[in-house]
């Protein structure tokens, strides 16, 4: 009888975890779309004004950052994607710890680790 209650409790806890994870996921996707919707036009305007004022050096910095992000995403898919689904982007300090753990665990190269960390924290 006691074991049955334990089983029911375990199932209840698991159901709560599933529900909270799904709610969190929903909240994140809602928040993300709201931010994109509200920031869209102003970002476009600021980019336009920024571009008008940007010297070529700033533009090349932006394109270098973009190239780095693309390379980071590529490295993530090639290395991390072998075992993980694309994860949420955690706060920088959590990500820095996780990537250091994965560097040891999955024997990532130094370059891969830096590019993936940069991509995951942008």
């Amino acid at each position: 009888m006691r074991r049955n209650w334990m089983l029911v409790c375990c199932l209840g806890v698991m159901a709560c975890l599933v529900r909270s994870a799904l709610a969190q996921e929903q909240e994140r996707s809602d928040k993300g779309s709201a931010v994109v919707a509200s920031a869209g036009p102003s970002t476009a305007n600021s980019n336009a004004s920024h571009d008008r004022r940007s010297p070529p050096a700033l533009r090349s910095t932006a394109s270098a950052e973009r190239a780095q992000r693309i390379e980071g995403e590529k490295r993530f898919r090639t290395n991390c994607g072998r075992c993980h689904q694309p994860p949420h982007k955690f706060p920088s300090r959590v990500m820095a710890t996780a990537i250091r753990h994965m560097r040891v665990r999955a024997m990532l190269t130094d370059e891969d680790m830096r590019l993936i960390l940069s991509y995951m924290t942008q």
Binding site: V18, L22, A96, A106
Partner: protein
């Protein structure tokens, strides 16, 4: 860096003729409790208790939220020692050897420990792999010399391949020891290319695994006592990265009788920051 993982496991079993579920004692296991010193970009020195780096399953796929099928391969106990872990020291790392490929390696020594839950065997070994990012292919081998009992050699090979054109993941491993040998191969296919119900299909994965085990000259408690074949088929659904529903059905064939293997599971992984963290070195 200090990292650790421990497991507490209890099976609730419904016995024939008795109502309710009945369980035994809770099994406690320290899987790793290791101190890592990242010496430079190619070398990490580890001391303490660590997962034995033999083959691919124990090294990479052991966490339940990573593996595609929840059941362990039959050959898993080969080369990893009791409790899947070693107590001693290890040097490991990965580096870009050429622009086309990376090399990873681990060299380790484990001391004998009979203290539960940190028991381990006395052995020394090496594991190395080559990873070709463009082809998304990793291949490697492991070698271990047992420094107790029959003082024998163990070896194994492993490979993981993810074709760039298909959401397919093929993993395989072979291991050989005096106590037995065998292999497993596991393709997993994500249904993201199907043109209907795309939101659901991209989260759904079909998995199969075929494995065979052959007995050796010596017996082992952890390995099957007779030649065994097993086929498994599974279906996984990824709600999000950390939450996965897993199910699989398998059939085991051996001269002792055939049997079914069913697994249903739900894995949930969460991250709780416990303090501040620095940047990468």
């Amino acid at each position: 860096m200090f990292e650790t993982r421990a497991t507490f496991e209890n099976d609730l079993v419904q016995l024939p003729g008795r109502s309710g579920f009945h369980g035994g004692p809770v099994q406690k296991e320290v899987e790793y409790a290791q101190l890592d010193f990242i010496a430079n970009s190619c070398v990490t020195i580890t001391v303490g208790r660590f997962l034995t780096p033999f083959g691919i399953f124990n090294e990479r796929l052991y966490p339940v939220w990573i593996r595609n099928l929840q059941s362990d391969p039959l050959i898993l106990p080969i080369g990893i020692g009791p409790s899947n872990a070693s107590t001693g020291g290890m040097i490991r790392g990965g580096f870009k050897a050429r622009p086309q490929f990376n090399i990873n390696y681990a060299v380790y020594f484990s001391a004998l420990s009979t203290t539960s839950p940190v028991d381990s065997d006395r052995f020394a070994g090496v594991r190395t792999g080559i990873f070709i990012p463009k082809a998304r292919l990793e291949m490697g081998g492991s070698f271990q010399h047992l420094l107790e009992q029959e003082r024998s050699n163990l070896f194994g090979f492993h490979a993981i391949w993810q074709p760039t054109l298909l959401p397919l993941d093929i993993r395989g491993e072979y291991a050989n020891s005096k106590r037995g040998s065998g292999y497993w191969i596991e393709p997993a296919y994500k249904l993201s290319q199907l043109p209907f119900l795309q939101n659901e299909m991209r989260r759904t994965q079909l998995v199969a695994r075929y494995q065979q085990f052959f007995t050796g000259d010596l017996v082992s408690d952890a390995l099957p006592p007779i030649n065994t074949k097993q086929f498994e088929f599974g279906l996984n659904y990824y709600f999000i990265d950390g939450l996965k529903a897993a199910s699989n059905y398998g059939r085991q064939f051996s001269s002792a009788g055939n049997l079914n293997v069913w697994t249903l599971g739900l894995t949930y992984r969460f991250v709780v920051p416990m303090g501040s963290a620095g940047g990468p070195r």
